[in-house]
């Protein structure tokens, strides 16, 4: 009798799976966008056309993808572009971005904070400051609420 009572496996059962009306979060449909072309972006950075590199990476974010590796790779590429910028050029680059691209950029900035490799921090904070000055609190709220994660 004492042996049977020590079995606590029942505590590991996920009871939520048995609920009939469980909410399935299926709104995000994978549309096949797999992120920016790494080689193309590298070439743009090497040529010094950083503003164009920024436009490219922000127009094809793999936000609908269900594959975390695709998202990680895209995030790495974006980080390369963001760190390649000089502080003085950031303002000019931001001016040419529309509302949607600014929201995506803010998502990547927070993704960068998450990935936190040494050395990136200061540059990312400068980016955050400049984007916030243009878009305000709304874009930060959208980073938190938007279910299409970067």
């Amino acid at each position: 009798m004492s042996k049977a009572t020590t079995n606590v496996d029942f505590r590991k059962v996920d009871v939520d799976q048995y609920e009939e009306e469980k909410y399935e979060d299926d709104a995000v449909v994978d549309d096949g966008v797999t992120g920016p072309n790494d080689a193309e972006v590298q070439a743009l950075i090497a040529k010094g056309r950083l503003a164009d590199a920024l436009q490219t990476v922000l127009s094809t974010p793999p936000i609908a993808s269900k594959n975390p590796a695709v998202k990680d790779k895209a995030a790495q590429v974006v980080m390369k572009v963001l760190t390649a910028f000089k502080a003085a050029d950031i303002d000019g680059a931001i001016k040419n971005l529309d509302q949607n691209k600014l929201d995506v950029l803010m998502k990547y900035i927070y993704r960068g904070f998450e990935m936190s490799s040494e050395g990136n921090g200061a540059q990312l904070l400068v980016w955050h400051d400049k984007v916030f000055a243009v878009t305000g609190l709304g874009s930060i709220v959208r980073v938190l609420t938007d279910r299409r994660r970067v």
Partner: protein, 357 residues
Amino acid sequence: MSLYSFGLDPVSCHAWNKDRTQIAISPNNTEVHIYQKSGKEWTKIHELTQHSGRITGIDWAPISNRIVTCASDRNAYVWTLKDRVWKPTLVLLRINRAATCVKWSPLENKFALGSGARIISVCYFEKENDWWLSKHIKKPIRSTVLSLDWHPNNILLAAGSSDFQCRVFSGYIKDIEEKPGPTAWGSKMPFGEMLLEQGDDGGWVHSVCFSPSGNSLAWVSHSSTILVTDAANKKTVTQLKTEYLPLLAVLYLNETEIVAAGHDCCPYQFSYTGPGSLKYIGKIDLPKQNSKVNMSAMQHFRNLDKRATTENENTDLETLHQNSISQLCIVEGDRSKVTKFSSVGLDGDMVVWDFKH
């Protein structure tokens, strides 16, 4: 513009009587307090204490003078005034989760109630048995219903939900009303028929409002966006991503002007003139008087003593409300031309705003 403070507790919801001499509010607890206006002050005249859960919605029907209240105790009561005392009648809702919002229909023969049970209850009075019955709208709502609004034709009902969707349903009850004619939203309208389902990127839909003609529907989402669907133009959706904190309440002031307020503690005005043109107009707020008065030496020393600083740091917000606004309500004017509207907030204040068209 006038401000009145109902105390320190947040005001979760409020409703006005027909001639705006009385207001029913709930100070974030299980009671509803009714105040009577006397000059510039408000005096409490009634306390409605039937609920055992926090009050989440109050609506006062102007013509029939009935109040409906709903609370997190899964109940709703319809109150009628008899011999100067409000008497409650229980409504049979048949829900197993908290009620979140309630609204009388324009003709006041029924009301709609949203709940955490993912159900909208449309309730009407059945004369034979002398009770309030409810009919449920379940499909395809997948999460808590956060807000409701009736279309001026007394049939269509808009619902905002925390499954990120805004929907329009038909709330036609054949026992109590005539079959409705076709509208811009659709022509077949059996009870529970869904005529619109529109989603946003991922914000809860906090508040919905039909325009005075009923041809467009505005809603605000937690992703700091305001959206308008235009039935007259093939139900196209126009979205405006704002740069402010999320809005919690939205109200149409006339056919094109919209006011919305929320966590930024002040009302914002937007204008919708057609598909693709939803613009932010400005803040509706009293500019704070500049309080940079020369400080006396006594003030300096007092500040140094209390706060270890000589600066006169005012910690109040610059807006009239000092905390988020939870609800907006029409005070003067009918739906097509609102000249005054009220806002209540988590700071316990009620402000009546003027609006010039």
